[in-house]
C-alpha cells in the first residue's frame, strides 16, 4: 500500500541478518544509504523485471541496495515527473526514463521539460514490442485484424501501457497506413495488459515482451513483432516491415536523476550501471525479454535526447496528435 519504496526500517532487518549481507555501507561519501530507482511501470512487467536485474547488479558495484519504487501511470511519465518535481538531486532518487517523457510534452500540457528537468545518467537498452491476441480469438494473423477492422471501424480494441507510448503511436501509425480505425485502451503496464487480453477485455495487446510466458504457454497468440529482424524465439512471427509497414520501434531507454546533480555522483552512477549492463547475468535476464543492451554514456545520451525529441515531433505532427 505504500507509495515509497524507501522504508529504511528494513535496515533493522538487515542488521539482524547482517552476516548474510555482503553489501554493507562503505566509507565512501556516496552512496551512504539505499538509492531509490523509480520504475514508472507496474511491478511485474518486462521493464520492471529487467530494471530490477540491472539495479541488483549495479547495487553490488555501488555497495548500497537500490530500491525499486513502482510509480506507474501516464504512459510511464508519472514516475519521472514526480521525481523532477519533488526529489532532491542528491543521487538517492533516480528514475527510468521511457521515451514518453520526451513525447508526451509534444502532445499535451505537462509539468516537466525533458530538456531542462533531468540530469541524464546513462542509456541502457530498448524493447522488443509485439502485438498479441487471445489464443481463442478469431484473429489468426494480422491480416484478419485488418479485414475485421475495415468492416467494423473502431470496434477493434487494443491494450497499451499508456497513451503516447510507442505502442500507442505505433499502432496509430499502422492504422493510418492500413486505412483502419482502432481504439486504444491505456493501461499502466505489461502486467495489466496481459490480464486484459487474457480475459478478452480487449481484442489485442500491444506491449513489450512481458507477454512471453503466456505466448509460450499457448494462451496468447503473437501476431507481429516490431523489431527490424524476426525474433529468434518466434521465427514464424512476421515483423512490421514484412507486413508492409516500413517502421521499426524499439523505444530505447536510460536513467536520469532530477536536474542539478553533482557530476561526480552522475559519474559514479554511470559507472555502476555500465558494469551492470555488461554483467552476463543481466544480459541473460534481458535476453529473456528479447532486450539487448544499448549502452550510451552520459554525453551521448544527452545528444540522443535532442535527436529523439526532433524525430518524435515529426511523427506526432504527421499523426495529428500534436498539442494545439
Amino acid at each position: 500500500m505504500s507509495r515509497y519504496g524507501l522504508k529504511t526500517i528494513a535496515f533493522a532487518a538487515m542488521h539482524v541478518v547482517g552476516a548474510l549481507l555482503a553489501t554493507a555501507a562503505g566509507a565512501q561519501d556516496y552512496p551512504v544509504k539505499p538509492i531509490t530507482l523509480i520504475v514508472p511501470w507496474p511491478a511485474g512487467g518486462s521493464t520492471d523485471i529487467s530494471m530490477r536485474a540491472i539495479a541488483d547488479s549495479a547495487s553490488k558495484v555501488l555497495g548500497q541496495p537500490i530500491v525499486i519504487d513502482n510509480k506507474a501511470g501516464g504512459g510511464g511519465t508519472v514516475g519521472p515527473a514526480t521525481m523532477a518535481a519533488a526529489a532532491k538531486p542528491d543521487g538517492y532518487t533516480i528514475a527510468q526514463i521511457p521515451i514518453t517523457v520526451f513525447r508526451l510534452p509534444l502532445m499535451q500540457e505537462v509539468s516537466w521539460d525533458p530538456a531542462k528537468d533531468f540530469s541524464y545518467i546513462i542509456h541502457l537498452t530498448g524493447y522488443t514490442f509485439g502485438v498479441t491476441t487471445n489464443a481463442e480469438s478469431q484473429f489468426k494473423s494480422w491480416k484478419d485484424v485488418v479485414e475485421f477492422a475495415k468492416a467494423n471501424p473502431g470496434k477493434v480494441t487494443y491494450a497499451t501501457p499508456g497513451t503516447g507510448t510507442s505502442l500507442h503511436i505505433g499502432m496509430e501509425q499502422i492504422a493510418a497506413m492500413s486505412g483502419i480505425k482502432l481504439t486504444q485502451v491505456p493501461f499502466k503496464g505489461g502486467a495489466e495488459t496481459n490480464a486484459a487480453v487474457l480475459g478478452q477485455h480487449t481484442m489485442l495487446q500491444a506491449d513489450s515482451t512481458g507477454w512471453r510466458p503466456l505466448v509460450d504457454a499457448g494462451k496468447l497468440r503473437l501476431l507481429m513483432v516490431w523489431t527490424g529482424a524476426r525474433s529468434p524465439n518466434y521465427p514464424d512471427v512476421p515483423t512490421l516491415k514484412e507486413l508492409g509497414y516500413p517502421m521499426i520501434y524499439d523505444s530505447p531507454f536510460g536513467i536520469a536523476g532530477p536536474k542539478g546533480m553533482d557530476p561526480k555522483i552522475v559519474a559514479k552512477l554511470h559507472d555502476a550501471f555500465k558494469k551492470a549492463v555488461e554483467d552476463p547475468a543481466v544480459i541473460a535476464t534481458l535476453a529473456k525479454y528479447d532486450m539487448v543492451p544499448n549502452y550510451k554514456n552520459t554525453e551521448d545520451y544527452k545528444k540522443f535526447v535532442v535527436e529523439v525529441t526532433e524525430s518524435e515531433r515529426k511523427v506526432i505532427d504527421t499523426l495529428g496528435l500534436a498539442k494545439k
Binding site: V17, K60, V185
Partner: protein
C-alpha cells in the same frame, strides 16, 4: 493422489535446515515490519532481494514469502492497541479491536486475530494447492467494467453498514475519492488539485491520512474526556480468547476466510475490500448488530481472517498466470525471474519442487508465526497499563516518527497533523473516517477503470449492465442502497445503524 505426492515432495524441500532457517528469518522480519505502522513489507522485501540471491531460488523465495505473510500477522497490533492502522486493510480492525482494548480485552482481540490469521492462512494454502489452476480464471474475468462495479459495491457496502447517517457516509466517501485523485492523473499525467505544491504531485500518502484520522484524532477525542481515559486501563482479565469468544468467532473466521480468499485472487484492492466486506457481512448477519463498534469480537475475527486469506489467494494469479496482483507479489515475481524462473502457466509443471516447496514452507511459516506471536500478546497488553496522560504523548510521538520513516518526508508529518485535526472535528460532528479511507484507496482504481471501460465500450454505459459480473455487483449495490427506503427492511437497518461511535 498426485497432489499428495507433490505435497510430500514439497515438505521434503521445505523441511531442509537451510530453508527452515530462511523461513524463520522471513516471518520474523515480517512480524517486526508488520508491527510498526507505516512501514510495510514492500520496503523490507525490496532491500532484502539481493540477500535472497545468495541461496537457492527456493530459499530466497521462501524468505520473501515469509516476510509477506508475517507482516500480515503483525498489522493488527497497533490498530487494536492504540487505534493506529498501519495499512488500509487494518483500518476496519480499529473499529472494534480498539474498543475491545478500551474494555480491557486487548488480549482476546490480539489472540483472535492471531488465531484467525492462522486458520485463514492455513485454509488459503490448502485451497491454493487444490484449486489454484482452476481459480486463475477469476483473476482475468475482471476487466475494467467489472472492477468499476466492484469498487462501487465496496463503497456502498461500507456506507450502508457502518453509518448512522447515509448522506454523511456518502459525502465522506466522495471526499475520500477526491483526496485519492490528488496528484498526477494516471492516464494523461496531468497534475490535479495540487494547488501548485510540488509535494502534492505525488498525491497524498495513505499512511499519514489513516494515522491522522485514526491515531491523532483518537488522542484528541480522548483528551477531552477526563473519565473515559481510565477505561483503557480497565482490568485486564484474560490474555487469550475464552470459550464464548471462540463460539462468537467461529462463523466470522470461516466466512472471512472464504471471502478473503476469493477477493484476494483479484489484482488490485482485493485484500482491502475483503476486510471491509467481511466486517459489513458480520454486522449484517449478527443478531446483535448494535454491539459492533463497541468491541464485538466478530468485528475483529472476520476482517483479520479475510485479510490473511487474501494474502494466500494473491499467490494464485502469480503462480498460474505470472500476473502479480499487488506490489508485494510483483517483488516475488522479480525474485523468480532473477533466479532464472518464469512464473506463468508453465511454472507449476516445470518446477514442481519449487512451487510445492514454497507452499509447504508457508504451512510451516504459519505455525512459526503463531508460536512467535502468542507470547508477545502479554507484552503488548502490558503497554496499555501505562496511565493515559503518559501514553498519549508517546502515541503522538510514535505516529510522527512512523509517518516520517515511511517516506522520509516532513511534508507527510504536516499532512498527518492536518488530518488529525480534521478527523477530530469530523468525529465531533458525527462524520466517520472509515468510508473516507476506503474510498481513498478505491477511488483512483474506480476512476481509472471507469475511464477505461468507457473507452472500451465507446461511451456505452450499458456495458456495466451487460457484463454479468459487473451487473451482479451493481445489482447488489443497488439493493443495498434502496433497501433502507423499503419499509420492511427499514427496521433492520435502523437497528444496524444505531451505533455511530467507532
Amino acid at each position: 493422489m498426485d497432489t499428495l505426492a507433490n505435497v510430500a515432495h514439497g515438505f521434503g524441500v521445505a523441511l531442509t535446515g537451510i530453508n527452515l532457517l530462511y523461513c524463520f528469518i522471513g516471518v520474523f522480519i515480517g512480524t517486526l515490519v508488520g508491527v510498526l505502522p507505516g512501514i510495510g513489507p514492500i520496503s523490507a522485501m525490496s532491500l532484502l532481494l539481493p540477500v535472497t540471491l545468495s541461496g537457492t531460488p527456493e530459499s530466497g523465495i521462501i524468505m520473501m514469502a515469509g516476510i509477506y505473510y508475517g507482516s500480515m500477522y503483525g498489522g493488527s497490533t497497533t490498530s487494536i492497541l492504540v487505534n493506529i492502522p498501519g495499512e488500509a486493510a487494518s483500518v476496519v480492525t480499529c473499529i472494534d479491536g480498539h474498543q475491545m482494548a478500551k474494555r480491557g480485552r486487548a488480549g482476546p482481540a490480539l489472540g483472535i486475530s492471531a488465531f484467525g490469521s492462522f486458520i485463514a492462512g492455513t485454509f488459503a494454502l490448502v485451497a491454493l494447492m487444490l484449486v489454484a489452476p482452476r481459480l486463475a480464471g477469476i483473476a482475468i474475468a475482471f476487466g475494467p467494467a467489472e472492477y468499476f462495479s466492484l469498487m462501487v459495491l465496496g463503497l456502498v457496502v461500507l456506507t450502508f453498514l457502518t453509518q448512522g447517517s447515509m448522506p454523511k457516509a456518502l459525502l465522506m466517501a466522495c471526499i475520500g475519492v477526491v483526496l485519492g485523485l490528488i496528484g498526477l492523473d494516471s492516464i494523461t499525467a496531468q497534475p490535479r488539485l495540487t494547488f501548485g505544491r510540488m509535494e502534492l504531485i505525488d498525491g497524498i500518502g495513505l499512511v499519514p491520512v489513516v494515522m491522522g484520522l485514526f491515531g491523532v484524532a483518537e488522542v484528541l477525542l480522548n483528551t477531552e474526556q477526563a473519565i473515559k481515559r481510565d477505561i483503557i486501563n480497565a482490568k485486564i482479565t484474560q490474555l487469550l480468547p475464552n470459550k464464548a469468544d471462540w463460539q462468537a468467532s467461529a462463523g466470522p473466521v470461516a466466512r472471512g476466510t472464504l471471502l478473503g480468499f476469493l477477493l484476494g485472487i483479484l489484482p488490485g484492492g482485493g485484500a482491502v475490500v475483503a476486510s471491509f466486506a467481511s466486517y459489513a457481512l458480520e454486522k449484517r448477519l449478527s443478531k446483535t448488530p448494535e454491539r459492533f463498534g463497541h468491541g464485538a469480537i466478530e468485528g475483529v475475527a472476520g476482517p483479520e481472517s479475510a485479510n490473511n486469506a487474501a494474502a494466500g489467494g494473491a499467490f494464485i494469479p502469480l503462480m498460474t498466470l505470472g500476473i502479480p496482483p499487488n506490489v508485494v507479489m510483483a517483488l516475488l515475481l522479480g525474485a523468480f525471474v532473477i533466479h532464472g524462473l518464469q512464473p506463468g502457466p508453465l511454472l507449476i509443471t516445470q518446477n514442481p519442487g519449487l512451487f510445492w516447496g514454497i507452499v509447504a514452507s508457508m504451512y510451516i511459516g504459519n505455525v512459526m508465526l503463531l508460536i512467535l506471536n502468542l507470547p508477545m500478546i502479554g507484552m503488548w497488553v502490558q503497554l496499555l497499563k501505562l496511565p493515559y496522560n503518559i501514553l498519549f504523548p508517546l502515541i503522538i510521538l510514535f505516529t510522527i516518527l512512523g509517518v516520517y520513516c515511511s517516506s522520509n518526508n516532513v511534508f507527510d508529518v504536516y499532512v498527518m497533523i492536518a488530518f488529525g485535526i480534521i478527523g477530530y472535528f469530523m468525529r465531533k460532528l458525527g462524520y466517520e473516517p472509515a468510508p473516507l479511507v476506503l474510498a481513498f484507496v478505491l477511488g483512483p482504481m474506480l476512476e481509472n477503470n471507469l475511464r477505461k471501460s468507457l473507452i472500451l465500450s465507446q461511451g456505452d454505459l450499458w456495458t456495466f449492465v451487460q457484463r454479468p459480473i459487473s451487473a451482479a455487483c451493481l445489482a447488489l449495490a443497488m439493493v443495498l442502497l434502496i433497501a433502507p427506503l423499503l419499509p420492511a427492511l427499514r427496521k433492520k437497518r435502523e437497528l444496524v445503524a444505531l451505533d455511530e461511535g467507532a
